[in-house]
C-alpha cells in the first residue's frame, strides 16, 4: 500500500490518477487541497482510497471538510508514513 501525496488539484489529466492501486491512501496538500471542492470526483476516489487533508490547509484556504475525508495533523501524517509501505509525491 502506497500513500500518494497529491500536490495538485484533481483534473482529468492529473498524472497520479493513472497509477493508483486499490487501498492506496491519498493525502491532498498544497494546490491538491482544493480538490475538496470537487465533491463528485472525490466521492469516486473515496470508493477505493482513504483520503486525507491537513487541518491547517482547510483553515487557511477557505475550504470546508467534506464527508469521508479525514483531517489530519503533521503528527498524524508521520504515523501514516509508517503505516503505508511507500510514499509517492505527485
Amino acid at each position: 500500500m502506497t500513500l500518494h501525496i497529491m500536490t495538485q488539484r484533481l483534473t482529468k489529466d492529473y498524472l497520479a490518477l493513472s497509477y493508483l492501486k486499490p487501498n492506496d491512501g491519498l493525502l491532498f496538500i498544497g494546490d491538491g487541497s482544493y480538490s475538496l471542492l470537487l465533491e463528485e470526483q472525490m466521492a469516486t476516489l473515496q470508493q477505493n482510497h482513504a483520503c486525507y487533508v491537513l487541518t491547517q490547509e482547510i483553515a487557511a484556504k477557505g475550504l470546508q471538510l467534506i464527508d469521508g475525508v479525514t483531517a489530519i495533523s503533521y503528527d498524524n501524517w508521520v504515523d501514516l508514513t509508517s503505516q503505508y509501505k511507500q510514499t509517492v509525491t505527485w
Binding site: D75, D79, S82, T89
Partner: protein, 130 residues
C-alpha cells in the same frame, strides 16, 4: 522505531511544499516512534539553503525553521553541491574555487555529493519527498 529521510526538491518561496516539509520534519523529531535520519536538498530545493533569502516580516521564513531543526535537534541538512552551484548557492570554498568573492550557502547546510543521499535513503525505512 521507524526511520525517515526527507528529500526536498521544491523551492522555499515559490512553493508551499518546503513549508510543509519543515513542519513535517518537526513532527518527526518530536515523535517517540520515529527518527529523522536527515534532510537532503536537491533540484530547486537547494534554494532553501541560500543564506541571503530575506523574507517580509509578516511571512514565515522557512529557512529559519531548517536552521532550528539543525541546531536544536542535530538533524543533518545536506545539500547537493552541483544542484546548489547551478542555482547561485555557493559555499565559501565553491566561491573561492570559481574566483568569486561572495558566497551564499547557509552555515547549517552541509555541501555534499549525491552519495550522501544514497546513504540516507539506505538508512531509512521511509523516504518522503517535498
Amino acid at each position: 522505531m521507524s526511520s525517515i529521510s526527507i528529500i526536498v526538491t521544491s523551492p522555499p518561496y515559490d512553493s508551499q511544499m518546503s513549508y510543509h516539509a519543515a513542519q513535517y520534519a518537526k513532527a518527526v523529531v518530536n515523535s517517540d516512534n520515529h527518527q529523522l535520519k536527515g534532510v537532503f536538498f536537491y533540484g530547486s530545493g537547494v534554494l532553501n539553503t541560500n543564506a541571503l533569502n530575506l523574507t517580509l516580516t509578516d511571512i514565515h521564513n522557512v529557512c529559519d525553521q531548517w536552521k532550528m531543526l539543525a541546531r536544536d535537534h542535530q538533524v543533518p541538512m545536506y545539500v547537493c553541491v552541483t544542484a546548489a552551484n547551478a542555482r547561485g548557492v555557493l559555499s565559501k570554498q565553491d566561491a573561492s574555487d570559481a574566483d568569486i568573492e561572495q558566497y551564499s550557502l547557509a552555515e547549517w547546510a552541509i555541501s555534499c555529493g549525491l552519495g550522501e543521499w544514497v546513504a540516507l535513503s539506505e538508512d531509512a525505512d521511509r523516504v518522503v519527498q517535498f
